[in-house]
Subunit: 171 residues, 2 copies
């Protein structure tokens, strides 16, 4: 089964992202707005039990994530995805590295750039148009995320939450 | 914020439900296939903390749910929703009653009929056509669900998981 690890921001920030996603993101229906912490990976039902143990332990030592969605950026020309840039912090980088080290399934597909995707799979010219508009609109939202989610993917591409892990570590 | 409590069946059963939902359920994109355990209710961020405590306690005393999706039925003429009928068991009824009693937000909108919706919001004639076809196809799947989910709804109608609760009670 294919799994992924994400953090969902507050309802307020998800609602804001969805105002763009419903128009510009064909993956809109597969998952609500999120920040990917570990790219999707394959694991068996037995293997995922060890992943859950690692996540349980990790979450007890990680404090709630302080995030700041500070501007709208694009991964162009790597991909045409446009996103809320989340300021990279030591906390986020440390969490991402811990996930990569402790959960030895799959491999990071990209350098870790914390982000919430709001548009993707557009043609180059559409991307340029939309990016121009969205960059002007901008974003400036701070948020605290106190849990992370382990998800699995259905055959049609949509994601169901398998388990939540509350981040209960000290600051 | 609007909350709901559901159980997601196995990936296999969700995939099966989605083969119908993608064609016949306009709510397809808002949530993956599920069995509603408590209808949606409004609660504040403070109130939901007490709900979480109740669910934590409840889940420790409820065994994993043994379910049997045994045939395809319809709520017609109440609504035009078509669903996998999940055989009502003492276990499911007891869990539903416990949720109604312990979580004093909202009210049950219908008598509790355990089900997984696969089609809805169709015209009467479309309903009759589709129901005729699906009833012939039928369903016969047994499943064990070892967790329940507390969800919240975004402004666009989609649902994000807030927290999972593992059912760890004895049989």
């Amino acid at each position: 089964m294919k799994y992924g690890i994400v953090a969902f921001p507050s309802k307020k920030l998800q609602d804001l992202a969805n105002t763009y996603r419903k128009r510009y993101d064909p993956h809109f229906a597969q998952i609500t707005p999120h920040m990917t912490l570990k790219d999707s990976f394959d694991a068996s039902e037995e293997e995922i039990q060890s992943v859950i143990k690692q996540l349980d332990e990790l979450a007890r030592n990680v404090a709630p994530l302080q995030i700041h969605a500070s501007r709208i950026s694009s991964f162009y020309p790597t991909t045409n995805a446009i996103y809320f840039r989340v300021e990279p912090t030591e906390q986020l980088t440390t969490l991402h590295q811990a996930l990569e080290e402790k959960i030895s399934f799959g491999e990071a597909k990209h350098v870790f750039v914390p982000h919430i995707t709001i548009a993707q799979k557009m043609s180059d010219s559409e991307h340029d148009d939309v990016y121009g508009q969205l960059r002007m609109a901008g974003v400036d939202e701070k948020d605290v995320i106190d849990r992370i989610h382990l998800l699995y993917q259905l055959e049609d591409g949509s994601w169901t939450t398998f388990e939540t892990f509350r981040l209960t570590g000290a600051e």
